[in-house]
Symmetry: C2
Subunit: 198 residues, 2 copies
């Protein structure tokens, strides 16, 4: 046995984290044994507290600390414009841009028959109810630009357009700072199709 049992257990638990192999887990474990006791306790407490206090927003299914998330509570935001994302962390990415002042709707994933995820597994029924109830005029399908995300965006467009909602899709194209030479042909094709006038 390389570690005394409580250390072995800690290394094992840390190894379950994504991107944490046995070497990193060992480094983290020894770090947690070295820092002031309060710092280790504080991390443990933050984990438990996050699980105790974090709920889902009843309107958009983002993470929240109460009934509604901070975006749904923010009255300066435009409630008739809704950005549809797969996961709560996608909201963080969009908020970082500072380019969006509407509300969100978290589907909880994308349609993926191969993984057994159909429209019923996602918050699509709730989205439809919300669109009808809240007089939403425009939605932006910001699902990931992969097969499943594209299929989900098209599926949503087919459902929402008949309700008179404008359905938009985030642009695909070359990343800023990217290089034509190294772009894959699908991305470059999209960049051409989605060209904008200067």
């Amino acid at each position: 046995m390389l570690y005394t049992p409580p250390i072995a257990r800690l290394v094992e638990e840390l190894s379950r984290l994504p991107g944490v192999g046995p070497k990193t887990a060992q480094r983290l474990a020894f770090h947690l044994l070295k820092v002031p006791r309060e710092e280790a306790d504080s991390l443990a407490q933050a984990i438990v507290e996050a699980r105790d206090k974090v709920t889902f927003c009843t309107r958009c299914f983002n993470f929240a600390s109460g009934e509604l998330c901070e975006y749904c509570l923010d009255e300066r935001r435009d409630p008739t414009l809704v950005c549809i994302v797969e996961r709560p962390q996608d909201i963080v990415a969009i908020e970082r841009t500072g380019e969006f002042r509407g509300l969100y709707h978290v589907l909880g994933g994308a349609i993926s028959p191969i993984d057994g995820i159909g429209p019923e597994e996602l918050k699509i029924r709730e989205l439809m109810e919300r669109v009808r109830r809240d007089e939403i005029r425009e939605v932006i399908a910001a699902t990931n630009p992969r097969v499943e995300g594209e299929a989900t965006a098209i599926y949503l467009a087919n459902l929402l357009k008949p309700l008179g909602v404008r359905v938009m899709r985030i642009a695909s194209g070359l990343p800023v700072g990217g290089d034509l030479e190294y772009a894959d042909e699908v991305t470059l094709g999209r960049a051409l199709k989605g060209r904008l006038e200067l």
Copy 2:
């Protein structure tokens, strides 16, 4: 605010871990919110438990769960041969080799005047007492092959040799699988000096 407060706190606590930047901290936090509740609690508990239960071995200052660490408790090990290391994790590295069947002594660092670490800050007095008491015949200075580790090894040799103890130093040289072309000159010089007959 990008995250709801309990998530913000978790991300912040996770960011304090070594090698964990804000992006990784976010990924870990969202992972801990997604996994079954028991898995998150289990990690939190392992952290607290490690801090509650892990003590220092009263003989060698390795991490232990009781009075003595498992190496000091293991009667099949040779107690007259002691490997001196800087930190407990160095013991893990040596144990992985399967080449050593003696006991250990953890100094708690290396002599480094620039960091204010003199011999008094390390478990050197305890090592001297132990050498006298336990009839140790050989010690291996396995401090890191850097300036501080080398200085510490030489310091220990000067203290221990007069007591009639054989003081050895781990070999420096090219890492196995290494390449002469890319070896630095100090390492290659050491490899030549430490040559062994085939």
